[in-house]
Amino acid sequence: MTALQVEDVVVEYKVPGRPTVRAVDGVSIHVAAGEVLGLVGESGCGKSSLGRAIVGLNPLDSGKVLVDGRAIAPLGRRARPVADRTVQMVFQDPYSSLNPRRRVGRQIQDAVASRGGATRVRELLEAVGLPASAADRFPHQFSGGQRQRIAIARALASEPRVIVADEPVSALDASTRLQVAGLLSETATARGVALLMISHDLSGLRVIADRIAVMHFGRIVEVAPTDVIWSEPRHPYTRELIAAIPRLGRDAPMPSAPERRGVVVRTDDEARLVECAPGHFVAADALVGA
């Protein structure tokens, strides 16, 4: 079942006196319940704008975001209606996404929809591998990895259908990254939550994501199951991303740097996704040259 449906979403930034920037240019993706979709692209490609638009932090200029078939209203000044709390976010930097002056338990309890918070908080903390006693402590008493676990527990507290995680492990030490990313995808999958994992690191998504969507200049240029993206990338940009990853091994080559280019603008026709194998979609501009 499709838990998250994003249809033809456009996000624009308008600054008076400057040309409008179209950060997200007609993106459609869907994530099934219990599925992990990885969204990769370099900084400035619009992946974070898309993630923020999905949870309602950025208003949509056109298009729709549906959770279980229901449209989500963008965040305003008032508290979000309970029905819209089915979409949650985990931010990049756990040092600033937790309130430094409130105890961990209280912060998680805020997000628990029903009464009887204390037992639920304990449950959630244990689910992310922290002791129940963590509830009485403050965020500064935890390491970066532990804080990100707390942020994950908080995101799970409202029993969401969709979690958007924006670079959830890039602020962490290399040795804890894999653990936290694994925890996030496992708890999400086990609870039937659709997880959209945004990252610039294709290799980090490899063990976690079921499918990967590659974003380039505001458009999705390729979507496929993770193994297929790695073994048979069809879009030239996906190939560049893979070739730029430094590798281990005695005869690993120097990662290759792509040529610098200006802004790539794809017309709707060029960006149209074509299914080239079952479940493997690639933007039409990649097929023209081939």
């Binding site: 030490d173 290399a174 290799s203 730029a244 990853i245 281990l248 080559p253 792509p258 610098r260």
Partner: protein, 260 residues
């Protein structure tokens, strides 16, 4: 030519805690030596001693020999002559390592004029050359701009240009690509590789990313809680780590092999 940098039995203690606990590191001229380890392992602290930087209230023992002279015993004036001239540094975060209120020109010429007998015009021309070398488009325009005009990758290139201005014998690169995208990272790594071949400059390359380490460094030292736990030729060490800590670090990396 002898060893360029020779750190011998270095101990740095702050408030009773040994942050660096008996480290021996050598860098030969023109060699790229890596320092790997998690945050807090003392790798940056060790590298900074090559510039004579020590934390406040630190007690130290051991020697840091640069071309046979002990950097730790130099006075302030001698250290000034050394820093930015013979030894230069590039920091992790290009968003904060450039001064936001000074033009690129100031940041690329100030140290040249302090260390070299150059006129403003000569220093400026050299700066433009450097910007061109690190592949900043339109260097004549770029030199008049302020850092906020540039992206993270571009700023890191400018920081590298600034470090290269006096043609240092040793460049300390502290997590220079950690904050960057993979494609930009690949560009910077290739740039450093090219500059190293061209200038014969030695590098002390600090990173916790062992895959990056594998492709850039000749030899590496793996540090943990202030001690070197393993060292050797990078590709050998990383292909067959002997110490369990190194093995754990290697295993923590996501698999990047392409399955066929």
């Amino acid at each position: 030519m002898g060893t360029l940098l020779d750190i011998r039995d270095l101990h740095i203690t702050v408030g009773g805690r040994a942050l660096v606990d008996g480290v021996d590191i050598t860098v030969e001229p023109g060699e790229v030596v890596g320092l790997a380890g998690e945050s807090g392992s003392g790798k940056t602290l060790t590298a900074l001693t090559a510039l004579g930087f020590l934390p406040d209230n630190a007690t130290t023992s051991g020697q840091v020999l640069l071309d046979g002279k002990d950097v730790l015993s130099l006075d302030v004036r001698a250290l000034r002559r050394l820093r930015g001239d013979r030894v230069a540094m590039v920091f992790q975060d290009p968003m904060t390592s450039l001064h936001p209120m000074l033009t690129i020109e100031t940041q690329l010429t100030e140290h040249q004029r302090a260390h070299r007998d150059l006129t403003r015009k000569q220093a400026r021309e050299h700066a433009i050359e450097l910007l061109d070398r690190v592949r900043i488009p339109d260097p004549h325009l770029a030199i008049r701009s302020y850092p906020h005009r540039f992206s993270g990758g571009m700023r890191q290139r400018i920081a590298i240009a600034s470090a290269l201005a006096c043609e240092p014998e040793l460049l300390i690169a502290d997590e220079v690509t950690t904050a960057l995208d993979v494609t930009v990272q690949a560009g910077i790594l290739n740039l450093l590789q090219g500059l190293r071949e061209e200038l014969g400059m030695a590098m002390l390359f600090i990173t916790h990313d062992l895959a990056v380490m594998n492709v850039v460094s000749d030899r590496l030292y793996v540090m943990r809680s202030g001690k070197v736990v393993e060292s050797g030729v990078s590709r050998e060490v990383l292909a067959e780590p002997q110490h369990e800590y190194t093995r754990a670090l290697v295993d923590a990396l996501p698999d990047t092999e392409v399955t066929r």
